[in-house]
């Protein structure tokens, strides 16, 4: 079973990368871009076969290690 974590900076936390990328996209004439936020994806291949359980475990992993709760939020998605 494959589980995906999407980890993004919390709303309001400065995202220097997003800012710089936004700027670079404008320089490349992608004027329609208004805002860019950058985050991390972590794809986990797990032996667990129940989607609920897999999701619960991935949430634990995010809380314990993978996301930095002080500045980041995360979402869990079961992919397959």
């Amino acid at each position: 079973m494959k589980v995906r974590l999407i980890i993004m900076l919390k709303q309001g936390v400065l995202d220097p990368q997003g800012k710089a990328i936004n700027h670079a996209l404008h320089n490349l004439s992608f004027q329609e871009v208004q805002d860019v936020r950058v985050g991390r994806v972590i794809d986990l291949e797990v032996t667990e076969t129940s989607p609920e359980k897999a999701k619960a475990r991935a949430t634990e992993m995010a809380q314990q290690l993978l996301a930095n709760g002080v500045i980041e939020d995360f979402q869990v998605e079961v992919l397959a």
Partner: protein
Amino acid sequence: MKIGIVVFPGTNRERDMVIAFERVTGFTPQIIWHRETALPQLDMVVLPGGFSYGDYLRCGAMAAHSPIMREIQAFAQKGGYIMGVCNGFQILTEANLLPGALLPNASLRFLSRDCHLRIERNDTAFTQGWKQGDIFRTATAHGDGNYFCDAEGLKRLEGEGQVVFRYASPNGEIDPSNSDFNPNGSINAIAGIVDQTGRICGMMPHPEDMVDPLMGSEDGKPLFQGIMETLTR
């Protein structure tokens, strides 16, 4: 000899490069601001180290897509010499002027320490100051210097002799799996390459910080001597 050193926002080793050229060759390079729309008359363009655009996104990516790079591509087409060191190497790969990519160091940490390089061929402008097989000490300072290319690309690189610098032990042994000698985990311990014409060179370490005995070594001097010999010939 006319050398132009390109400065992007976040470039920070341009001064080191100027000092090295002045000290070793007596020629003073000119600084070229990235917003310039045309290159002056030059023999060589140097992309120095640093953190262009903060190295956000991927190292060198945003610089590689900035307007001045079109000029630099054209300069390459016309047969100009280009050298990219550290962030400059990353920019050259991102701009497809050199093959491959630079991944995060195998240790996943920034590494600032001396290493040894072996000269794999000495018939390029960048290496003719050495003999083939020479070993020299140089500084490294990067977080993403782990050279990668796919199997086919690697075969081509090695087959065509495009690898010019390789990480080595102080005695010249090559062992890609030994992190003491191949500090960032590069494939085949590749530290620097040239393109197929031999006129475009990229390397991760910083010979420009090794041209003064006061700073611990003059091992980097032959790079600049070789460049001068080629470009003033």
